[in-house]
Each structure stands twice: as C-alpha cells, then as structure tokens.
C-alpha cells in the first residue's frame, strides 16, 4: 500500500530535481508558492473525487458544479448583498445537496455513476449559463466579502491558505478513510459490495456519503476558485476540472474498479499534475502540449504500476503454493478414517434398502 505512495513521492522529487537543474527558476520561492497555491486549489476537490472512485463510482459533475455554485455565490454577495458567512453556508449546503442527489440516484435508483454525473455536468453548466444569461459575473469595486476573500486567497507566513486548507482537509479525510469505521466500510464496499452487504453494512449509505462529501468539497473549492479568479464566466469556469481530479486520483493509486487508493496518494497525484503543468511553462515546452504531457505521464504511470502489481501478485501466488503444498499432503494422511468428500467422491456401493 505505502509502496505506491513512496514511488510517487520519489517520482515527484526526481522530476522536480531535473526540472530545477535545467531551469533554477523552477525551484525559486515564488514559483514554489505559486505551485503550492494551485496544488491547494486542485487538491481539495480531488480528495472528494478520490472517495467516490474508491466506491467504484466516478463524479464527472465537479467542474459544472463550480460554475453553478460560483455564479450563485457571487450573485448572493453582489446582487442580494447577503452577508458572506450566509453566502458561504449556502454554497457549501448547495454542494452537499447536489452530491446527495447524485448519491441518491446512484444508490437508491441504481443508476450508473457515469451517467448520473455526466447528466449533472450538462445540467449544472446549462443552469449556470441560463441563470446569468451567459454573462460573466464578478465582484464590483466594493468590498463585498473582504474577510472571506483574504481568507481564501491569503497566506500565512508566506504559505498560501489554499495549501494549508488542503493539508488540514487531507489530514481529516486521511483519518476518516484510513482510521475510521466508515473508511473501512468504504474500501470493503468498493472491493466487494455484496460481501459488505452480507456483513450487515448499509452499502447504499456508505456510497451516498462519498458523493455527499465530494459535493461538499466541491462547494469549498467553488469559493476558493471564485476568489482566485475574482469572476465567473459560466461557460468556461471550471471546465475539465473534474478530469484533473480523476487524473490526480488515478495517478495517486485509485483504481476505477474501486476499493483502492489513499489520501496521501491523491495529494501526491495532484502535486505531480501541477508540477507537470508548471514544468511545461518553465522549460519552454509549447503550452499547447500541456495536456499531452499530462496524458503521457498518467498513461506510463498507471501502466508501470499495473506491471509491478502483476509481478507482486505472481510472487505472492508462488509463495502461497510453496507454503500450502508440503502441509496438505500429511494432513490428508492423518485422517485415518477419511470422511467422504463431496457427493462426487466415489465409494464402494452397497445396497441400503
């Protein structure tokens, strides 16, 4: 389990070192803090996506959720002049509610997660554009949410608050996933939902909760992104961001089949993606190749991981064969009056009646 994260961390260090050697600007404090900010921004919702992927599902709706919740958030603050704590609460609850609806559709109505969240992606984006008549919403010159803005885009001792928030959320979710009963259930459901159900676990509730957490974190991310860009253009805000989250989770060791992955892995996966993006800029690689570089690294990473796992499984299988063979032979010899096996084992027949 931990080996995967170690490998990922090593990859991150090696890539950073090479990039830094080619262009020292990569390791400059300004650049590192800028990257930390982006890792924070993209890491928060990747955590939620990771939980959903561990259940064996997927959440494609995140980017559109940012757009819909984003325009509502700005409208609440500017047009309706709602106090920022209430607007923040509304966005968080909105995210939780959307996650709840998706979770309900997936678990209770047995719809496929891909379809449910794909429709979410389309619906939320459309709703955001209709609501704003496709016009960009931004803050005026007033100071509608100065406090919140300085929290969301500020920094403590130079470290961006977004990054600090990511670390806090990662710690909380890390405990939830790796130490709590819920986390254990989540993995069990992801690996074998039927066995989990036969063990008395409310599998529907476990899965729906993952979607709700993901929605809540999308609400948090919405606020962070709104203050990062200071405006929301409903047709492009958050476009493709769900794919960043899926990429980070997969790179971090989550399997789309479910039941695998860790919080540390997701954070490292997010970091690696941002390093790659940054590296494209810093090394003067044409910016248009950005996605291509990301795609290549993920492809190679997942392929390498699969090969290593297959090799490990073969080793385990060999070891268990070696372990059981010498023991099973004497065991059968010991049963002096052997009980007959399954009904297909032949015995001499004697008429009973």
């Amino acid at each position: 389990m931990i080996r995967k994260e170690l490998g990922l961390a090593l990859l991150l260090v090696v890539i950073s070192a090479i990039t830094g050697a080619i262009n020292p600007a990569f390791l400059s404090l300004v650049n590192l803090l800028n990257m930390a900010n982006l890792i924070g921004l993209f890491g928060v919702f990747a955590l939620g996506e990771g939980l959903v992927i561990i259940t064996g599902g997927i959440d494609l709706s995140l980017g559109s959720m940012f757009a819909l919740l984003g325009v509502i958030f700005i409208d609440l603050l500017t047009t309706y002049e709602v106090p920022w704590p209430l607007a923040l609460l509304a966005v968080l609850l909105g995210g939780l509610a959307l996650g709840g609806i998706q979770g309900f559709l997936v678990t209770r109505l047995k719809m496929q997660p891909f379809i449910v969240t794909l429709c979410g992606l389309l619906i939320y984006r459309g709703a955001a554009r209709y609501y704003t008549s496709d016009s960009t919403r931004g803050f005026g010159y007033g100071d509608e949410a100065g406090t919140l803005s300085s929290i969301a885009s500020g920094h403590v001792a130079g470290i961006p608050n977004t990054f600090i928030l990511l670390i806090i959320l990662a710690l909380v979710l890390g405990v939830l996933l790796h130490r709590s009963v819920y986390g254990r259930w989540l993995y069990a459901v992801g690996k074998n939902e039927e066995a989990a159900r036969f063990s008395g676990i409310n599998t529907n509730l476990v899965i729906a909760t993952a979607y709700i957490i993901s929605g809540g974190l999308a609400g948090v991310s919405t606020v962070l992104f709104v203050f990062y860009t200071n405006s929301v253009s409903p047709s492009s805000f958050g476009n493709f961001y769900e794919l960043y989250a899926i990429a980070a989770a997969v790179l971090g060791g989550c399997s789309l089949r479910g039941g695998e992955g860790s919080i540390l892995g997701i954070v490292l996966g997010t970091a690696l993606l941002q390093v790659l993006q940054n590296l494209v800029n810093i090394l003067g690689i044409p910016n248009s190749l950005n996605f291509a570089v990301m795609g290549t690294v993920i492809l190679i990473g997942v392929l390498a991981d699969q090969q290593l796992q297959a090799r490990r499984r073969r080793k385990v299988a060999l070891a268990s064969v070696a372990r059981t063979t010498p023991r099973s032979a004497p065991l059968q010899g010991q049963t002096s009056a052997p009980l007959r096996g399954a009904a297909v084992v032949p015995t001499h027949t004697s008429d009973q009646t």
Partner: protein, 508 residues
C-alpha cells in the same frame, strides 16, 4: 431402435482429489428418449459436458459412427449432431429468434461486405418454428419470449444444425404444467422423426411419461439401467440412493432446549405463491435438504434480510423479529454463512483481520475510530479458536485454501453473539480435514445454545450431521424427518415432492 448413434465406453474424469466420473458407459440409440437421473453431484452434468466436447475425459472412448475418439471438441460434437438445450438458456436476449438460431453461422450476402442476410435466416427459421408449434415470429426479440418459448428457440437451433441427439438438462424446472406438457409433446414428435433426446430431470413423473429407457448415475458411476416396462418411481429412487454413509453424527450434549427460531408462513420472492413454515430449536442442528433450486437459499437470504419478505414472519423465542436488512438480522443474532464465500462471504483482497471484524467493527471503535489493538486481539482469537492456518492475521484472504477461507467467514460471525445461524453449503469446496473441523464447530455452537440451520446438497452431510432434517420441494417444506427416520430414500422421496407413504426405518 437398433441403430446406435454413439457410445461412451469406460469414461472416467478425475479432478484433483475427486473422481467425477468413474468408468461410465452409455449408449444412445436412434430415435429414443433416454432418461438420465441421479442425485445432485452424481455426475450427470459432467458426463454431458464430455459428450458436448466441453471437457475431455481422463480415460475412455467416445464412439461415433464406428470411429473412436479419445475426446471431442465442441465442433466435432456439433458435427456429430449433438445439441444442448441448456438449463440456463444460452441465448442472446438482445437479438431476435433467427439471429439466435444462426449465431456463429450467419448467412451472408453482399460478397466482401459480409452483410448479414436477415431475410434468408428468418425464412429458414419459420418452418422450424412451425414444426415445433411455436406461435412467435422469427423476428421476435428473445427478450420478449417466455422461458418455454426460449426453449423452443434452443430446440429450433438444434434442428437447424440437423441434430441427431438433443440433450435437455432440467428443461422443465421453470415451466408451468401446461408448458411442460407441451414440451413433452414436442419430445414425442422429435422421437417420431428419429431424433434422440437425452432427458435429464429430477422429476421422475416426467421421466415416466417420456423415457424409453433410464440410466441412473450415482457417485460418478452407472449404477443401473431400467427399460420402459421396468420403470417405476420406487425402482428409480432405489437405484439413485444406496451409498454407504459414514457415521458422522456426534449427538448433542443435551436435548434441544425450548425456544428457538420459528419461521411462520414465510413467502420469498423466488416462490411468491408458497409459504414456508420451519422451526429450529436452540441447541439443535436442523439439516435443510432438497434439490438444487428448491428454495433453500432463498429462505436463508430472506431470513437474513438480503431479500425482502413477501409475507410471514420470523420469531425468536416467540418474539417476532424484524429482518428488513442484514443489519437488522445481525442485530437479532441471525447470521448467514453464504453459499458462495468468495462472492458474498469475504472481501478477498482484504486481510484476514479486516474480514473477521468487518461485521462487528463498531464494537472495536471509539468515536468511529477503529482501535487497532482491540481489532487485532479479536482477529487473533478467532484464528486460534478456529485453528485457521495462516502465517499472519494480515495475510490477504485470497491466498487461503477453501477450508481456511470458510473458517474466516465463520470467525466473522463467532466474534459476535449468534442466536440463529444459517450455513448454506458450509463444506462445498472444502477438503476433508477442514470439513470435519467445521462439523465439530457447528456441534460446539449448537451445544452453546445456538439454533443452526444447515443447507446442504451433500446427502451424507445432511444425514450425518443433522439432528433433524427438513426437506424442501419447490418452495415449501415437504416434510421433516426425525433421526430414526433418516434415510436417503426418505429424504429423496420428500425432495421430489412425494409424501412419505410408509415411513421406512433407517437402514443399519
């Protein structure tokens, strides 16, 4: 009736540790209906798979038209005119009837374009369907057909490849009475046209109606052959049973106590028109026998809250209990060891420790955080108590043998307080050593006052381990046997739905 279509001579098939077929010989004549009967696991399906070319026999000869084969391939079997009508019908529901009949042998048009000639295929299927008296068109989607109609599609498929023998494995298990009669008519018609039918069924009445000859398998051997004039229920049952059974029974330490689990008028979704009444006392092992598909697993699933109860109730010590979900059942102390441990019993990729504590994790947690030491202690306890042979409690369950896996599932439940336990085929795929350990554990649990229901298709296990046997037939309990009445004959009589006319004493 003299022409031999094919002959199996001295066929054996062994799997590691098991002889599935032992020196079986079988002849099929042209235009006859051959009944093939035997208990669950007697080797009927294995034999038919040898014939169909799906598996190769370890020994023996398959003789077709004067040529000897050591084994058949699926293609050779098809060319020899052997066709199957499967128990679980092998049809593509998303395709129409004609496409299913011609699957893999599609008629093509358009030369290099290789387009499928639907019109031609449908035209060819129409007369086949007419011959079978089917009243659906060749372009009907299989999805829209009933089970009986799908069977006709399978038979049409067999006719389209000029089958000389059609093997039907439990063809009537899901049919209504009138559909069954219709099928028997079709079989008679096939025979009149010189096509042979091998008819595998537990329903002896149907065998009586249609078979010219009956071959009985038991424990992988041919134990008898009955010609039409010698056919009778009693003769068939006598041949099907009659193995010598080892004395497995270890009696309970004390007589069953009052109280226990009462299942009253229970209706499951598998048999919505049947009711189940069953009682099991604290301290007793109740064997639940019956043919595969008699509704035993459905009963256990319903009692454990996996499937909804359509009616009736479950009482423990005369108090009705709510089993709307497995969680409710577990809260009441009702546990289930499922039939398929790999699918439903274990999360194979998780360590033994996490499997053992999966159902009771909240007991070792404070504020929802799992206490590592408490969890390890419980897992170690169960590994020791059940003598599960593993290097460590952190070993993944997937690496264990069948017997040890089963014990891990058992450990999951024994780390809590069972009151009623359902064991569904507890020793399937388990080696002999682990088997006797599991029997001993069940007895130990019963002696501690647990009420145990053991579903088993292994006759020896049912008779050897149970204190009482309830037998199910087509969704309801057809009879309950006390120990003095235990015999294969009696269990089988009840399993095929006959009343116990005269209660036979158990054979010595």
């Amino acid at each position: 009736m003299v022409e031999i279509l094919f002959e199996l001579a001295g066929i054996s098939k062994s799997y590691p540790g098991v002889m599935a077929l032992d020196d079986v010989s079988l002849r099929v004549y042209r235009g006859e209906v051959l009944g093939l009967i035997g208990e669950n696991g007697a080797g009927k399906s294995t034999l038919m798979r040898v014939l169909g070319g799906v598996i190769a026999p370890s020994e023996g000869v398959i003789r077709i038209g004067g040529t000897d084969h050591a084994r058949l391939t699926v293609n050779e079997a098809t060319q020899a005119g052997i066709a199957f009508v499967h128990q679980e019908l092998n049809l593509f529901e998303n395709l129409d009837v004609a496409a299913n009949v011609f699957i893999g042998r599609e008629r093509l048009v358009g030369g290099p374009l290789k387009l499928v000639d639907n019109a031609q295929m449908r035209a060819r299927v129409t007369p086949l369907l007419e011959r079978l008296g089917a009243d659906f068109a060749p372009d009907t989607l299989v999805d829209d057909l009933s089970i009986a109609e799908r069977q006709m599609v399978e038979i049409a498929k067999a006719l389209s490849i000029d089958a000389r023998v059609i093997i039907m494995d439990e063809p009537t298990s899901s049919l209504t009475i009138s559909e069954t009669e219709r099928l028997l008519e079709v079989i008679a018609d096939l025979r009149a046209h010189g096509i042979s039918v091998i008819y595998i069924s537990h329903r002896l009445t149907e065998i009586m109606t249609c078979a010219d000859r009956v071959v009985v398998l038991r424990d992988g051997r041919t134990v008898g052959e009955l010609t039409r004039d010698a056919l009778s229920h009693a003769a068939m049952i006598r041949l099907m049973i009659g193995r010598d059974l080892k004395a497995l029974h270890s009696p309970p330490k004390r007589p069953p106590q009052p109280g226990g689990c009462d299942i009253v008028g229970l209706v499951t979704s598998a048999f919505p028109d049947r009711q189940i009444d069953l009682s099991v006392r604290h301290g007793e092992i109740l064997g639940l026998a019956g043919l595969v598909g008699a509704g035993r697993t459905s009963l256990a699933r319903a009692a454990f809250g996996i499937d909804p109860l359509l009616g009736g109730e479950i009482r423990i010590d005369d108090a009705p209990v709510d089993v709307a979900s497995p969680r409710d059942a577990i809260r009441q102390g009702i546990y289930l060891m499922p039939e398929d441990r790999k699918k439903s019993g274990l999360v194979l990729e998780l360590p033994i420790r996490e499997n053992v504590t999966l159902a009771s994790l909240l007991n070792y947690a404070r504020m929802w955080l799992v206490s590592g030491p408490a969890e390890r202690k419980v897992a170690k306890e169960q590994v020791r108590r059940l003598s599960i042979k593993v290097p460590s409690i952190d070993t993944e369950a997937v690496t264990l043998s069948g017997g040890n896996q089963q014990k891990v599932v058992l450990g999951k439940w024994l780390s809590m307080q069972p009151r009623v336990m359902f064991f569904d085929e507890p020793t399937r795929g388990v080696d002999v050593g682990a088997k006797s350990e599991i029997y001993a554990l069940m007895r130990e649990l019963a002696d501690q006052g647990v009420a145990i229901v053991m579903i088993s298709s292994d006759m020896e296990e049912v008779i050897g381990v149970s204190d009482r046997i309830a037998v199910m037939h087509e969704g309801s309990v057809s009879g309950v046997l006390e120990r003095p009445q235990f015999s294969e004959y009696n269990v089988l009589q009840l399993a095929i739905g006959h009343a116990l006319d005269t209660v036979e004493a158990a054979a010595p």
